[in-house]
Symmetry: C2
Subunit: 153 residues, 2 copies
């Protein structure tokens, strides 16, 4: 399992080639040794590390958080409080986000259900959007993440 090309690494970890190079740029992956022709050569450790990164990304950890997790996990005898804290913080972010999206979902459902499929003149969707005194004043639950398009490329 020695001297994998970046393409082989990509196939084994399901992380795309440009993404691997990107992870190197931002310091998640160390710069690997090169072949005589300056191509990257990876070993089994790189495969493990990249799998760790991929899995953490799938769980929604940000790159900065993953960097911390990798740094913290390097020392096997360190107490895992800090690791736990990162994971817990992320969990509560996700929970909060779900709550926001559920409020959105309710409002969108109301909007769509009330639409009588007539003309724009009396469309509930447009009316709702025009009526700017509508929901809780402090919530700002905007946006789907950009990554949501494309289920599998």
């Amino acid at each position: 399992m020695r001297d994998l090309s970046i393409g082989e690494l990509s196939r084994r970890t399901k992380v795309k080639v440009p993404t691997v190079r990107y992870y190197e740029d931002v310091g998640l992956m160390p710069a690997p040794p090169r072949s005589e022709g300056k191509q990257r050569r990876y070993d089994a450790d790189a495969v493990s590390r990249l799998n760790f990164i991929r899995h953490a990304r799938e769980l929604g950890f940000e790159v900065n958080a993953i960097r911390e997790l990798l740094d913290l996990s390097a020392d096997r005898y360190r107490p895992c409080e800090e690791i736990d804290a990162i994971a817990s913080r992320h969990l509560s972010d996700v929970t909060r986000r779900i709550a926001q999206l559920q409020m959105l979902e309710k409002e969108l459902q109301r909007m769509v259900q009330q639409c009588g499929h007539g003309s724009v003149e009396d469309c509930r969707v447009i009316e709702t959007l025009n009526d700017h005194a509508h929901c809780s004043p402090n919530a700002h639950p905007i946006g789907l993440s950009p990554r949501d398009r494309a289920g599998s490329p």
Copy 2:
């Protein structure tokens, strides 16, 4: 209600000044007339339109979708099927997103709960992240949207 400065418009709609200019750049807001000194001057229509945009963004519609909604709603006698379709598509995006995040939430909860607060050596969080054969193979539920930080600025 005539000749509002961009700052006044901003105060009335709760949309920040640079954001108003951004909406003009990307064609959501029409370029308004200018004062002698080339400062933007807005009228009541601008206030309505910007409120519409703000509300749509709060509901998570993308700028492109809002552009469509605005175009479609310009014709009062058009049947509102297309508008309905945009809203429904967005609703199903939100619903799907919630489902993804809930799966994430479950896995994160498992991870955090199982952590015995010992050392990194036997930390469940790290173990889970290292174990790359774990969850459904097709799901890619990555990421919180960037807008999620900052509840109210």
